[in-house]
Symmetry: D2
Subunit: 340 residues, 4 copies
C-alpha cells in the first residue's frame, strides 16, 4: 500500500503515521518521491485504507495487489518522462536510438564509431561497456577505468550522451562519474545492493530484464531503485532464454507489450543481444521499433570480425546505415519519431 503525503503538511502526517504503523507492528518504508513523501508497506498488508485516507495530510492511498508498486500505472497513470536535454527524451513519443560497440576496446575504435554515428545519423547516445560481465574468466573483461576515460572523451569530442554498464557495486562510483545513463546488465538485475545504490544516484538507470526473469521480478527490481529515491528508471527488454539453440536469446515482444500497460516507466529494447546474429539484427530491430518503444540499443562496430566481445551480433557501419532509415519509417508508421 502506498500512502502519499501532501506537500503542505508532510511533517505532521508523517509523525502520526510512523507512530501508527509502529503500534500496528507493520513495516512502512519512507520514500522520497519527487518533492513528496511516501510511506510504502508490503503489498501483502491489507490495512484500513479508508482510515488512512481520512488522516489530515494524506493526499492519496493506493492499495496494491501486485508485488511491485511504485512502477505501476495504478500508482501513477501517466508516463514517466526522462529528459536528458539536447533532444534526448525517453517517454514522450520518441524512440531514442542508442548505438555503439559492445565493449570499449581502444581509442581508435570508439572514436571512429562515435564519429560515424554522430556525423552520419546524428545519433545522440553512445553505448559501450568498460566493465564486461563475461562468463569466461579467461577472456577479455573490459578496459575498466581506461575504458571510462575513453567514453568521457567521446562525450567531450562529439557531444554524445554516454550509456555504459555497471557489473556490480565495486566500480559503481567510477561509472557514475562518467555515465549520463547507467546500465544494469541482465546478469546484475538481481544484485539488490547494486539496485539500491543506483537508487541514490541522479542519473537515469537502464535496467535490463534478467534473461530468466518474470515480468513480476523485473518490475520488483525497478521498485528497488525507485524506492531508494531515483525515479528515473528505464526498463529494457533484451531477450529471454528459451529452449531454442539457434538464436542467442528470444526477444520477448509480448512481455514488452504488456509492460507498457503495467508500468509508467519508459521501455527500450535491445535487438542485438536478443538475436545475437548480425544478419538478423535488422529484422528484429524493425520488430522492436514497431512495438512503439522509447528507445533501441543497437550494437555496431568498425570491424565486427575482430571485435573483442559479441562479434557475432555487431552490425558493420554499412549494415547499420541501411537500417536507420527503415526504423525511421516504422517509427513514423506507429506514430513516433526516431531520435537519431
Amino acid at each position: 500500500m502506498i500512502i502519499k503525503l501532501s506537500q503542505s503538511s508532510t511533517d505532521m502526517a508523517l509523525k502520526h503515521l510512523v507512530k501508527w504503523f509502529a503500534q500496528q507492528d507493520v513495516e512502512a518504508r519512507q520514500i522520497n518521491w519527487g518533492a513528496q513523501v511516501l510511506l510504502v508497506t508490503s503489498s501483502k498488508w491489507k490495512g484500513d485504507a479508508d482510515y488512512l485516507k481520512s488522516i489530515d495530510g494524506v493526499e492519496s492511498v493506493t492499495e496494491m495487489t501486485a508485488d511491485y508498486q511504485l512502477c505501476t500505472r495504478k500508482f501513477q497513470p501517466q508516463d514517466t518522462v526522462i529528459d536528458l536535454g539536447d533532444g534526448v527524451i525517453f517517454g514522450r513519443g520518441a524512440t531514442v536510438m542508442m548505438a555503439g560497440p559492445c565493449a570499449v576496446e581502444s581509442e581508435d575504435q570508439v572514436m571512429r564509431t562515435a564519429e560515424f554515428l554522430r556525423s552520419k545519423f546524428d545519433i545522440k547516445v553512445f553505448r559501450a561497456g568498460a566493465f564486461k560481465p563475461r562468463t569466461s574468466p579467461y577472456t577479455f573483461q573490459g578496459l575498466a577505468d581506461e575504458g571510462l576515460n575513453l567514453l568521457a572523451k567521446v562525450r567531450k569530442e562529439f557531444g554524445m550522451k554516454i550509456i555504459t554498464e555497471v557489473k556490480d557495486t565495486t566500480h559503481l562510483a567510477a561509472v557514475a562519474d562518467v555515465a549520463d545513463i547507467i546500465q544494469i546488465g541482465t546478469k546484475a538485475m538481481y544484485n539488490f545492493s547494486l539496485l539500491a545504490m543506483c537508487g541514490q544516484l541522479k542519473q537515469p538507470i537502464v535496467l535490463k530484464r534478467g534473461f530468466m526473469t518474470t515480468i513480476k521480478e523485473f518490475l520488483q527490481a525497478a521498485d528497488f531503485i525507485l524506492s531508494s529515491g531515483n525515479s528515473k528508471v528505464i526498463l529494457c527488454e533484451r531477450g529471454i532464454r528459451s529452449f531454442e539453440p539457434q538464436t542467442r536469446f528470444c526477444l520477448d515482444v509480448c512481455s514488452a507489450a504488456l509492460i507498457k500497460e503495467l508500468s509508467h516507466l519508459p521501455i527500450v529494447l535491445d535487438p542485438s543481444h536478443a538475436m545475437g546474429i548480425a544478419a538478423q539484427v535488422p529484422l528484429v530491430a524493425q520488430s522492436a521499433a514497431a512495438l512503439g518503444v522509447d528507445g533501441l540499443l543497437i550494437e555496431t562496430h568498425p570491424d565486427p570480425a575482430n571485435a573483442k566481445s559479441d562479434k557475432e551480433q555487431a552490425l558493420s557501419f554499412e549494415e547499420f546505415g541501411r537500417i536507420v532509415p527503415v526504423l525511421d519509417k516504422i517509427c513514423t508508421a506507429v506514430g513516433r519519431r526516431l531520435i537519431a
Copy 2:
C-alpha cells in the same frame, strides 16, 4: 543428400541410382518435386557426391548438414511463391491478412464477421476453426462438420478463401473438401501421419510451429509434408511457451527472422495466440508485420466477451478496424504491401 534428376532422362538415371543405393544398403527416398524427381537420403549419409554428380541424368546433388533438407535455401535459394488467385499470394513481397474468429460458433457469427472483414477492409482470407483442439474434455470442441458447412457458405457468399484447422487424420478429408488452406495447429505439429497425409493434398498447408519446438524440428516437420509431395507449405510462428506466466505465449521474432534465412518457404505470424490478451494484440501485430513476413493471422469476433473459445485474445471489430491502417503503413515502411 538430395539428388535431383534432370527431366529429360529421369527414368534411366532413376533405375541406375535405385540399384546403386540398394547395393550400398542406403535408404534413398524417391520424391516428386514439381515436374522433377528427387532421391533423398538421410542427411547423415555422407556418400561420394562427385560420383553421383557424374551420373548421366543427374542434374544436381545437394549435400546437407542440417537434418532438414527440402525446405532449405541450400537446396532452393529462391523463395517459394504460393499463389491462390484473387490476389492472395504468399511469398512475393505481400503480407496476407488472414482474419476471423477462433472457432466457428454459429451462422450469424461467421457471416457477420466475414461481412465486416470483406466489406470494410477487403480481407481475402477468412480464418475459423470447426475442429478445435481444446485441452479440456468438458468444453466446446467445435461444430465439426456443421462448422465446415458454414465456412463453405462464407466462401460462397463473400468470395473469401478459407483457412481452417485440422486436428488429426480422422477428419482431414472433410476439412480438405472445404478449405482453401489447411492449418495444422501447434498441438498437431508432431503428428507425422497427418503431415504425410497433408503431403498428398493439393492445398497449401499452414504448418504452425509447436509451442516448444526447435527450429530444427519445425523445419523437419515441413520436410515431412514436402517429401510426401506437397510443395505448398507455409510456416507459421505462433508463440513459444516460456517461463513467463502473464503472457499466453511468447512470439519468437528471433526464430522467425532466422527461419527467413534458412528456408525458402513463406512464413506467417500469429500475434493473437502468442499474446493471448486482446489489449496487447495490436502492438504485437505491429511487431510481427515489421518483421517483413508473408502473412498475419489475427482473431476478431463480433462479441469477444461471449466467444466460445479464446475470448481473451479476440479483437472486437472496432479494435480490428484501428489496427489495419497501422499495419498497412508498417508493411509499406518495410517494403511490402498488406493484402487486405
Copy 3:
C-alpha cells in the same frame, strides 16, 4: 462439477438431471465410471451443488476448481490400482520395471533382449516401439505391423506383458490387438481424438506427458481418456524440455512429486528419454526410483552402438544388469518393492 449417481437409482436420476441441465443450457457429459454413471460439467460451471445433492439418486457431488476432474484425489481419494495379473500391478506399493529397446528392429534383437530380461531378472513387461514418431522423414520410422508381430511373439515365448507406442489413430486398432499396455508418446499427448479412442479400449494406457506440457494440461489429457470410459490410465513423466543443451530433456521430479498428491492415477518415470545419455541413465533411474513411483521405463539394447533409434541412451545388457540390484535396494529404502 462431478455428479455421481447411485447404482440403485441411476435411470430415474439421470432422466431428471439431463432435463434439468438442458433447461439451464449447461453441457453435462454422461460418463460411465466403473459400474456407476457420472454427469460432468465444465469445472467453470458453478451451479447449486446443494440442490443437486438433494436429488434422489445422486450419491455425491464434487465441486472442482481445477480444470481436470476425474483424475483428481478430490474426486477419488484412494489410489487407482491397475492389476494386469502375473504380479504386474500398478499402484499398490510396487514399482514395475518395464524394459526393452526403443524400437523393434528385428526378430533377433527383440528375442535376445526379451530372453535376457526374463531369464536374468524376471522382468515382466517388455517395451519396444513398432511405430516410431521420428522427427526426420528420412530416417527409420519403425517396422509397423511386422514389429507388432514380433512383439506378439515375445509375449508368447516369454510370457511377458507388452507395452508399445501408438503414434496416432491410423494404427491404433493394430496396436490394440497386440499390446497389453498402450503407450501414448510425448508428441501425441495433445492428439485428442487419439485420447478419446484410447478411452474406449480395455487396456491400460500409459500417457506420457508432453515435453512442453504443464501439469494442468497433462491431467486434462488424462481426463480425456477417463471421460471416454477407460479408467486405467497410468501417467508417465519422461522429461521436459529446458534451456540446457547438454542433456536431452530434464526429468521433472518436482512435478512428478506433486502429481502424486494431485491425482489418484499411478505414475511411472522414464529416465532413459529424460537423460538421453546412457552413461548417466543409471543415476537418473536411481533418482526416479527413490521418488516412490509405480514403475520405470528403461531402454536396453543388445548392441546400443548399432541401434536404429535413440542409440545414445540405450543401456547395454551389462549396464542394465548393474542397475537392477541398486534400484531394488532403493525401492526397499522407500518402502516399495521392485517388480523385476
Copy 4:
C-alpha cells in the same frame, strides 16, 4: 589450454613461458593451484601443445575444448575432496546433510533449530541466511550483521559448521568472518567480482547454479573462483526455472548427473528451493539423495507457518525427523553414507 609447471623448476619455466606468450600476443593467466603454478589461456587458443610440453619445467599440458577448464575431469580426473574436520567431508562417498531455516530470524529461532538438529540427528552443518536476496524491496531482507552474530553463537554452542549466503561484495568480509562455508546464491552466480573475491578466501564456497544457467555457464562460474586461487568449490544444483507454474522450480537431476562426470568438484542438491512446497520436499529429497551426491541442503523451521521467508517450503521438525532415516537408507542403497 592449461600448462602445469613442475614444482621443482617453476620459476625458470614461468619466466620463459611468460615471455613466449607475450611474443605471441596471447593472454595466459597465472594461477596458483595448490602448491603448483598454472598458466591458463582461453580455451579457444589452439597453440603448439607439443612445443609447450617439451619445455623444461612444464609438467603437463591439457588442451581443452570446453570453455571451462580447471573444474574439468579432463584436467583433474580424481574427485576434489573438501574436509572441514569433525567428520564433515565433501567428496569421499559421504552425503553431508546441511539443514536449518531459510533466514536467521531471531536468537530463539536459530538456537531451537540448531538444538533440534544437533541433539536428535547429529547434523553437523547449520544453514541459515543473514543477508537475504529478496525480490521485493518491501519485505524482510535479513538480519544482516545481527544475523551473523547469531550464527556465530550457534557454532559456539553446538559445535556446528555454519553455511550462510553472501548476496554481493558489500558484505563479503563480514560473512567470511563467520562462515565455515560461504554460499553464493542462485541470483548472485553471475556476479563475477563476487566470484573472484571468493576465490581469494580460504573457506569452501558452495556455488549455486543460476536457475536459468546452462551447465557451461555454471562450470565457467566455478572456474572464476578456482582461477582466483580457491580450489574448494562445491557445486549446488537447486532447481531451474521451467514453464510449469505449480512447482517453484524444477530440480534438474539430469544436469546434476552429467556434472558429476564433467567435473571433479563435489556437488550438493537443494530439494527445498527446487520444490518449494513442504509436502513434496521429502520425496524430492529422496530423489536427490539417490543420485549419489555429496550433500543436501534442506530447510527446516520451528514454526513454518510463521517463517519470515520461504515459509511454504520449510519442513516442520516432525517432517524433518521423518525424512532423515529414509535418506540414510537411500544413501546406503547407493553406496554412500549420510553425514547426519
